[in-house]
Symmetry: C2
Subunit: 285 residues, 2 copies
């Protein structure tokens, strides 16, 4: 059965869901996106995603074409129409399609809103049991990585390099430190049992799952340090993992082919994954 | 009359020209573009644009869906179908639309090719007589600016800032030096009659019009230095100008509100503009 997508007010089969070639998302990457997980038909940590959406569009002076309340209604309608149990809802807002192509913002053009779903068993993912390999690549991205824009070519190239190396993620390196993964936040657990993840700044995306995991860890009296770390620190750590809306908490077992600790998912990672899944289910809406 | 666009093998009205919401140009800015000028129905410096297109797609591992010879045929057919006399042909190739959204390159997906035209009297543009104001903004772009990708959000924000300031271009500044304009190359003519423009590297796009202007200047025994320059140097210069396929050679008369020399287009800029237009007409195809 064909998936149903949402495009500017209409629910249409995904295979027929289209935008103008003049859409500024297509011509200029002039748009913002979010991905929210779905468990048992309910949205996970969605208020956090919608708050970040509002922040991102504000940073580029883009007015959403719908209220976030209405966006959440559409997310739910898409879940229902697609009978989605476990997976994700993707949403993208762009500055719309003008009658031609000009860099400066167009006037009197309605922004574009596109949404669609995909199926994924995030909780039961095999990679959660095995952990993933990570490679490192230079961080080629622009200066405002705190804005969740669709200008993702650097991340595409990073994650393609990972795929070609048989790895599940690429950690991006700048000034000798890990910034984050191509589509995830990076964490380590040091030998002193301190969880380390880079502090939010313009250098990284403020991860929603990252934020929730830090809060859940601190509630449990775990020591968390928000600071950059090196690959050497990660390789000397007890554990390493990544977080994102589409993997939750995911062990990293090798970096550039070298094992992290014994090369298996660590107990703290597994525990944080369970804690996050419990939180997700308890707060799903 | 509606403009005719080209989308993946078909000529369609521009208002009906669409791509899938899953197109990687829309989702990831995973695409490359070029803009070639048209004078009197003929393409200007097009071999240079197509060579740069081939280089850009190669740098991101994207196979063009058509040969450059066929692309040039389509450019010409679009000019004919739209009865275009003076203006531009835009073309964009993306990595196509897969059945879902995944960062790594999709397999067995045909790249997208979109092309359309627009009308502009480049030779007779009023701004060529008056010159333009330029503002400066920090260069927020990614590391590989030599690739002409559609990940243009930083340029959009730069040129919007210029538009809001009533300026015609934004010069992007990095480490105290001008990299280039939001959609043009930057030149100055020093007090010693040396033309200065930044050397090609990953820090700037290798401008086709920049290249032609440098070659035309050198043929005429003008002294050209390819090196970065500061805004202070530009303000102390005899003349400043920008080059691009859609403005050719365009005088810069103020920078951040301060006049360059007497605040009027200079004679060398006017002369290089004439020389470029002569070259363009003589080599148009």
């Amino acid at each position: 059965m064909d998936q149903i997508a949402y495009v500017n007010g209409s629910f249409v089969p995904l295979t027929e869901a289209k935008v103008s070639v003049l859409d500024r998302g297509f011509l200029f990457a002039d748009g913002i996106y979010e991905v929210a997980a779905v468990l048992e038909g309910k949205l996970i940590d969605n208020a956090s995603h919608l708050a970040r959406l509002e922040r991102s569009v504000g940073e580029i002076g883009l007015a959403l074409p719908e209220t976030v309340e209405r966006i959440q209604e559409i997310q739910r309608e898409l879940i229902a129409r697609n009978h989605l149990v476990n997976g994700m809802v993707y949403l993208q807002a762009t500055r719309g399609a003008d009658s031609g192509r000009d860099f400066a913002f167009p006037k009197d053009v309605k922004p574009t809103l596109v949404m669609f779903t995909s199926v994924k068993d995030i909780v039961g993912a095999e990679s959660a049991k095995t952990g993933i390999a990570v490679i490192t690549v230079p961080d080629l991205r622009w200066v405002r990585r705190d804005i969740k824009s669709v200008a993702l070519l650097a991340q595409v190239l990073a994650k393609q390099a990972a795929a070609e190396a048989g790895a599940g993620e690429a950690w991006m390196i700048e000034d000798g430190k890990v910034t984050e993964g191509g589509s995830s936040s990076a964490f380590i657990l040091t030998k002193d049992d301190v969880l380390v993840t880079r502090q939010n700044s313009t250098a990284i995306l403020p991860g929603c799952t990252r934020k929730a995991v830090v809060a859940l860890a601190e509630e449990r009296q775990l020591r968390v340090e928000e600071r950059p770390f090196t690959v050497e620190e990660a390789l000397a750590a007890k554990e390493a993992f990544v977080t994102s809306a589409t993997v939750f908490v995911q062990a990293v077992v090798t970096i550039d082919g070298k094992p992290v600790a014994n090369g298996k998912p660590g107990p703290m990672t597994d525990r944080l994954r369970e804690i996050y899944i419990d939180f997700a289910k308890a707060t799903a809406q």
